[in-house]
Structure formats: structure tokens, C-alpha cells
């Protein structure tokens, strides 16, 4: 009897409407945050793998023109490849037009910065949602709890004899809201930190690659204004 009355599904079903809405909100937030967690984890892992592959092929001594030509123009790449592609394209386009090395390098740098910022946007996509869930769901759960306890005290004022048995179910059901809020918030916080850290490290690698690539182009321009030979 007691078992049944105090089980979690029973408590959720007998909760007041506001508390039930809060719980629903928290469940939806938790599910969405987990969707983001899985999606971002997979995406970041792939991006890392692709970056490693590209770095390997870039530093393997292959001709940069060859490397550029391997990338189809209508199939845009991501990550470091994308930065390399946009920078090299700009370099090739500016080479016939001007003989000023500074102008060419400035154009290449600007183009690569744009590509980098696109990459940043792509990598950190949805992480803001995770941060929102992490910071808001405890408060939402707390709101549900406070509302439920308010209801419990209101019902307590109706009864003549205030025993623990009359308050306990109300408080238990109210506390479930807080528990759900924490249940949604804790994974969101952990994975937000982890994923944003991964993304920023990847972006740092991209930045390093862009600087190195820029240095190579600069070196080639210093010798002759011909085509850079790697």
C-alpha cells in the first residue's frame, strides 16, 4: 500500500498541474540536451579525425597545387581543409593581379580568417543550448518544488491534525521536480564543458595550421613571385 503510493510514477501522476508542466519541460530539456550531447560528440570526433588525416597529408610533402586540385570545388570541405582551400584559392586569384606580396598575404589572411570563423560557428553550434539547459533546469526544478511545497502547506492548513503522513506525499512529489532538474542539468554541465573544451582545442589547431600555411605562402612570396613550391 505504502509502496504503491510512494512510487515515483504514482507521485508524478498525482502531482499538481504546474508541477507536472515543470516536469514535462525538464524531461523535454533533458532529452534535447542529450540529443545535442550525442550529436556534438560524434561531430567533434569526426572533425578531429579529419583534421588529423589532413594534417598528415599536408605535411607529407605533397605539392600544394596537387592537394588543392584534389579537393572538388563544388564539394566544400570542413575544418583545416576548408581554411586551406579558401586561403589557397585567394592566393591563386590574387597572384596574377598584383605583384605586391603584402597585398596577397593580406587577402589570404582575411580569407582564412573568414573560413576559421565559419568553422568556429560550425563546431560550437548547439553548445549554447547545452549551456542553457545546464544553467536553467535546476532553477526550473526548484520552481516546481517550491510550488509543490506551497500546495502541501495549503493542504496542511485544511487538516486538523498535521502529521508527517499528510505532508510527506506532497513534499516527495515536489522534490521529484528538483531531482529531475538536477538530472537534466548535471550531464548538460559535464558535456558542455567537455565539448566546448574539445571545440576550442580544435579551433586552436585550425588557427595554428592557418598561421603555418600563411608562413609557407609568405616564404614562397619572399623568394619569387612565382608559384610556391612546397
Amino acid at each position: 500500500m505504502n509502496d504503491n503510493a510512494m512510487s515515483i510514477p504514482h507521485l508524478i501522476m498525482s502531482a499538481s498541474t504546474v508541477v507536472q508542466l515543470v516536469m514535462l519541460l525538464l524531461v523535454v530539456g533533458s532529452i534535447l540536451s542529450w540529443v545535442v550531447i550525442f550529436q556534438r560528440s560524434i561531430a567533434l570526433r569526426r572533425a578531429k579525425q579529419e583534421y588529423n588525416q589532413f594534417e598528415e597529408s599536408f605535411w607529407s610533402g605533397v605539392d600544394l597545387n596537387e592537394l588543392y586540385r584534389e579537393i572538388p570545388a563544388d564539394d566544400p570541405r570542413h575544418g583545416a581543409e576548408h581554411i586551406f582551400q579558401s586561403g589557397f584559392r585567394e592566393f591563386n586569384r590574387l597572384m596574377p593581379k598584383t605583384r605586391s606580396a603584402d597585398t596577397i598575404l593580406e587577402g589570404v589572411q582575411r580569407s582564412m580568417r573568414v573560413a576559421w570563423s565559419r568553422e568556429e560557428d560550425r563546431l560550437t553550434k548547439h553548445l549554447v543550448f547545452l549551456a542553457t539547459v545546464a544553467s536553467v533546469s535546476p532553477y526550473v526544478g526548484l520552481f516546481g518544488t517550491v510550488w509543490g511545497i506551497m500546495g502541501s502547506f495549503q493542504s496542511l492548513s485544511m487538516t486538523q491534525q498535521a502529521t508527517l503522513a499528510t505532508v510527506a506525499p506532497w513534499i516527495a512529489e515536489a522534490l521529484i521536480a528538483t531531482a529531475m532538474g538536477l538530472l537534466a542539468a548535471i550531464p548538460a554541465v559535464i558535456f558542455y564543458n567537455r565539448l566546448s573544451n574539445d571545440a576550442s582545442r580544435l579551433l586552436g589547431k585550425y588557427e595554428n595550421f592557418a598561421e603555418e600555411f600563411h608562413a609557407i605562402l609568405h616564404r614562397n612570396l619572399q623568394g619569387r613571385d612565382g608559384k610556391p613550391q612546397a
Binding site: 570542413h78 585567394e90 590574387l94
Partner: protein, 404 residues
């Protein structure tokens, strides 16, 4: 540059590196279902745990040290029962008047009925009183105790009412049967009496007819004798003598017949008497058997009720002691002490003694203090005298278990 920018802006948003949302969604839902399943599996065992940790366990100790008072009460009851028994079963003095016998039987039946009714009323009253008092005590205690007691009382009441009804029905049935029996016996007696009268009347008529014929024959003879007087006076004399002889013989025969008739009537009367006697004895035996059966059923019901009352009492004691027990901080879960408690007639604590010690004197002392704080158990007075005797002494086992 402008061209490049525009080219990049036109770039299709679909990228092969990007991960779709199908699999993450499925995984997220799976994670939540897993959490729900775990919470459902874990919860029953967690909530069942506090129930099992009953820290004080009570066990009965049947004692031989009965008090004189209670014994006197039972002896009085027995004496009363014995006094009441012959009153009913003693055969009445045999009487020739059936009406007197009937009246006596009726009076006896009425007396029995009145007794049964009085007994039932007394029982019902006692039961009600006990219930009311039990309810009051249960309210004084915790709410759970109240609920439990109410439930038990409702059950006991329902069972008692049913038994009462059954007993009443049996009584009514028995009465009806006795009535029918009596009517049948009466009718039979009436029939026999009528048949007897009829037979006597016929015999009388027969005798009269014979006497008349005799007289006629005598007159005939007289006339013949007168007619033949001169012819054969000696013969007539002899004839008369012979006829007188015959008449005497016939009269003697009639006399003998009458006597035999009377004898037969007397025998029939005796037979009837004997049958009535047997019937009365059978009825008495049946009544005695039914009384015995009713007594047995009553005893069983009383025993059950007593068991329930004892259980509720021991529950109350256990809860009170549990609440009063301050478990010493040094007590470990495995410790266990058994305290024997002896109560006075009104539930006051007479003595506590350690039956089996936990090895820790502080623990034993705390258990004894818990009993002392919880006393007196005034609920004992609400119980029947017989149960009181068995409940006056019991053992309480103290185990802190996993309370902390």
C-alpha cells in the same frame, strides 16, 4: 574576391561531415528510458527496506503463574454453568396429564430461550464495549494503529454478527422442530384415546346386545316351559338349571373378556407412557448435543477474538516501546537483547528482567528504560480476563537493525 565571397555564400548547407540527428535522438531517448527503468527496478527494494527494520519484536511467554482472582472467576463461571445445566436437562416428574407436561416443556423452552437471549445480549454488550474501548485506545495511539484496530474490529464484528445470526437461526429451527414434535405427539395421543373409547363403546354395545338376546331366549324358554309345564316339569327344571349354568358360564366369559380388555388397555397405556418417555429422553439428548455444539462454536469464536485482541495489544505495546526507545550510540546493528516484561492486572509495569543480554549493559539498560517509559499499558484492562492472564508476561526482543 567578390566572386569568391559570393561563391562561398551560395555554398549548399548540406555537408557530408555533419552528423544527422536521427541517431543522437534515438540514443538520447534510450538513455532516458534506461534511467526510468533503473528507477523503477531500484525503488521497490529501497522502499521495502524500512518496513523490515522493526526494531522491537515481541514474543509471548505462556506463564503458569495464574493469579487466584482469575481462577476464582473461572471457577465461578464453571459453577454457574453446572448450576444451569441440570436445570435444563433434568427430566420432569412423569405426569398423566399431557397438558401439564406440555406446559412444563414450554416453560423449559422459554427459560432456555430467555437464557440464550440474555447470554447473547450480554455478549453483544461486552463486545460493543470492548470495541469502543479498543477504538479509543487505538485513537490515542498512532494513526496506523487506529487503522489496523478498526479493520480488525470491523472484521471481528462482522464475524460475530454472522455467528450470532447463525446461532439465532439454529435456535429458532430447534424451537420449530420441538413445536412440531409436540403437536405430532399430541395428535397421536388424541387418536389413541379416541380409538380406545371407540373400542370400549363397541364392547359395551356387544355386551348389551348379548344380554338382550339372553333375556329374550330366557323368556322364550319360560314360555316354552310354561307351555310344556305339565309335560315335562323335571325336564324344564333341568333345562333351567342347564341354562342358568350356561348363562353363568357366559357371564364368566364376558367377565374374563372385560378383564382381558382392561388389561390390554392398561398395557397400551403403559406402552404410550414408555414411548413418551423415550421421546422426551431423545429430545433432551438432542437439545444437550445442540447446546454442546453451540458452546463449541462460541468457544472457537471467542478464541479467535482473543487472538486478535492479543495481537492488537502486542502491536500497541511494541509501537509504544519502539517510540520510547533511545538507542545508545554505541549500539551496533547486530546487537539484540530480550527483555521479559511482567505487568500488573491494570497494565502497570511490575518487573523487567533481561532474558538474554546483548553483552552491552548500556544497551540492555536502554531497552529496559524504554519499557519503563512506555508503561503503563492500560490497554490490558480492555482485554478479557483469560487473555489478560496470558498477556501479563511477555518477552520483547530489541534489535536496532538498520534503523540508523
Amino acid at each position: 574576391m567578390v566572386k569568391g565571397e559570393s561563391h562561398m555564400a551560395v555554398k549548399p548547407p548540406r555537408d557530408p561531415q555533419d552528423v544527422g540527428y536521427t541517431w543522437p535522438t534515438i540514443l538520447a531517448v534510450a538513455v532516458h528510458l534506461l534511467v526510468i527503468v533503473f528507477s523503477l527496478i531500484k525503488l521497490p527494494s529501497m522502499s521495502a527496506e524500512p518496513d523490515s527494520s522493526s526494531i522491537v519484536q515481541a514474543t509471548f511467554v505462556s506463564t503458569e503463574t495464574f493469579t487466584d482472582q482469575a481462577q476464582q472467576v473461572t471457577e465461578q463461571q464453571a459453577a454457574m454453568n453446572n448450576a444451569a445445566e441440570p436445570d435444563v436437562t433434568e427430566p420432569e416428574p412423569p405426569s398423566d396429564e399431557p397438558s401439564a407436561e406440555q406446559q412444563a416443556a414450554e416453560a423449559a423452552a422459554a427459560q432456555r430461550e430467555a437464557e440464550a437471549a440474555a447470554q447473547a445480549a450480554e455478549q453483544a454488550e461486552a463486545l460493543e464495549q470492548a470495541q469502543a474501548e479498543a477504538e479509543a485506545q487505538a485513537q490515542r495511539r498512532a494513526e496506523e494503529a487506529e487503522r489496523l484496530a478498526e479493520q480488525q474490529e470491523a472484521e471481528a464484528q462482522a464475524r460475530e454478527a454472522e455467528e450470532q445470526r447463525a446461532r439465532d437461526e439454529a435456535e429458532a429451527q430447534r424451537q420449530r422442530e420441538a413445536e412440531a414434535e409436540r403437536v405430532r405427539a399430541e395428535a397421536e395421543a388424541q387418536r389413541q384415546r379416541e380409538a380406545e373409547e371407540q373400542r370400549e363403546r363397541e364392547e359395551e354395545a356387544q355386551r348389551q346386545r348379548e344380554a338382550e338376546e339372553q333375556r329374550e331366549r330366557e323368556e322364550e324358554a319360560q314360555r316354552q316351559r310354561e307351555a310344556e309345564e305339565e309335560r315335562a316339569r323335571e325336564e324344564a327344571e333341568a333345562q333351567r338349571e342347564r341354562e342358568a349354568e350356561e348363562q353363568r358360564q357366559r357371564e364368566a366369559e364376558a367377565q374374563r373378556q372385560r378383564e382381558a380388555e382392561a388389561q390390554r388397555a392398561r398395557e397400551a397405556e403403559a406402552q404410550r407412557e414408555r414411548e413418551a418417555e423415550e421421546r422426551r429422553a431423545a429430545e433432551a439428548a438432542e437439545a444437550a448435543m445442540q447446546r454442546q455444539l453451540a458452546g463449541e462454536a462460541e468457544a472457537a469464536a471467542n478464541a479467535q477474538q482473543a487472538q486478535q485482541a492479543a495481537n492488537s495489544f502486542i502491536n500497541i505495546v511494541r509501537r509504544a516501546v519502539e517510540q520510547a526507545w533511545l538507542i545508545p550510540p554505541a549500539a551496533s546493528d547486530s546487537m539484540s537483547a530480550t527483555i521479559q516484561v511482567r505487568l500488573g492486572p491494570s497494565g502497570e509495569l511490575l518487573a523487567t528482567s533481561v532474558v538474554s543480554s546483548s553483552g552491552d549493559s548500556a544497551f540492555d539498560r536502554s531497552a529496559m528504560q524504554a519499557v519503563e517509559h512506555a508503561a503503563p499499558f492500560s490497554e490490558l484492562r480492555d482485554l478479557a480476563a483469560e487473555q489478560q492472564r496470558t498477556l501479563r508476561q511477555f518477552n520483547l526482543r530489541f534489535t536496532p537493525g538498520d534503523v540508523r
